[in-house]
Point group: C2
Chain length 212, copies 2
């Protein structure tokens, strides 16, 4: 692509550094911004710069946060005894958007994946075990990807949890249900999912209570 | 989507204002920026803000430019007697990238499209006629979209050109060739294109010279 303006070219190159944005898309975005009011573009660039400079990670759950402790952790109306363990910040947003979970989170920052060079030390597992040892937690829910890596991570952390001093408090550990997605067609489900959904079958009386 | 951070939410909303970027893509882009070095994000935002504040439109051809007259117009090694009329800046970049055209451009800023409320007054047609009357132009090439609107625009401007004082200089007016795209399959071409490519057929001796 040959540009007649260096300003335009630099802006296109900056956008094209973003994931999934090629040169053509970057050009479309930049030409859109050229047409906008100067104030709106200034607001765009200031919001991005400010976000990067001021954003923090919650010292308790490692979620993205405006303060040292995030809104979720500092919200006293949430169940402090329930921790949902997730892979990343996107998962927190996805679960929050369901408005079905009223406990706290713990963001691992990834899952154990030796092929990608991610071991337990790269994740916030120690911080989670520390929380379980010191906070009045009663239940841990794993909401990790249903993959081998997700299962490995659950297995590794459960071992750590089992090693905790059990005299302190009983700890329920669960993982989110795996099965056929709502609205999904049975015949298109893969074998593993279908097999899991049969072995984890739910008595209909429970199902009706849960679904109602 | 429910965010636990206002900084994150504002940044996502700003990205989601861009065309073709939904909330999920915006979130992906913002989380990517969160992971980048602070300096890189500052550079991103400064480049965008600077581009919007400093960019100009060439007073001669209305192309995007760093100065009052763009690099193309001020390049004396280009043929000043040849003007390629295009719809927008993207078309200039597309034609420049072919490295086959060595004249000047004129960016109309759109094409005549009454249904979209775009008439000749919204375009830089007067400025083009003014250029043809005052500059030593010998040839005008229309490189507009092969649509009814494109054809209408060509017709309208040709009428204006025909009304120019012809005693001054002769003016060749042409439009880019329309036909089957290179590598295209004949059977998938639409009827209009195929019909045009038959009526505008090229003697093989010219074709070989042009293609060699």
């Amino acid at each position: 692509m040959i540009f007649s303006s260096a300003l335009l070219e630099n802006a296109v190159n900056e956008f094209a550094k973003l994931p999934g944005i090629g040169k053509k898309t970057a050009l479309r975005l930049v030409l859109h911004l050229v047409k906008q009011e100067s104030g709106e573009v200034a607001q765009f660039s200031e919001t991005i710069a400010r976000m990067r400079n001021e954003i923090k990670f919650c010292s308790r759950c490692h979620n993205i946060s405006d303060n040292d402790v995030c809104n979720i952790c500092s919200n006293t109306s949430r169940k402090q005894a329930m921790i949902c363990v997730v892979e990343n910040i996107r998962d927190v947003i996805a679960i929050e958007s369901t408005q079905q979970f009223n406990g706290l989170y713990h963001v691992l920052g990834g899952i154990i994946s030796p092929l990608d060079g991610i071991g337990p030390a790269q994740l916030t597992i120690d911080s989670l075990v520390e929380r379980l040892a010191t906070e009045p937690v009663e239940e841990v829910i794993f909401a990790l990807s249903p993959t081998i890596q997700g299962d490995t991570t659950i297995y590794y952390i459960s071992k750590k949890i089992a090693a905790l001093d059990k005299s302190r408090h009983p700890l329920k550990v669960s993982t989110i249900a795996r099965g056929i997605a709502f609205g999904g067609e049975l015949e298109y489900a893969d074998e593993m999912t279908l097999a899991k959904s049969i072995s984890n079958r739910i008595p209909v009386e429970n199902f009706i209570v849960a679904g109602s």
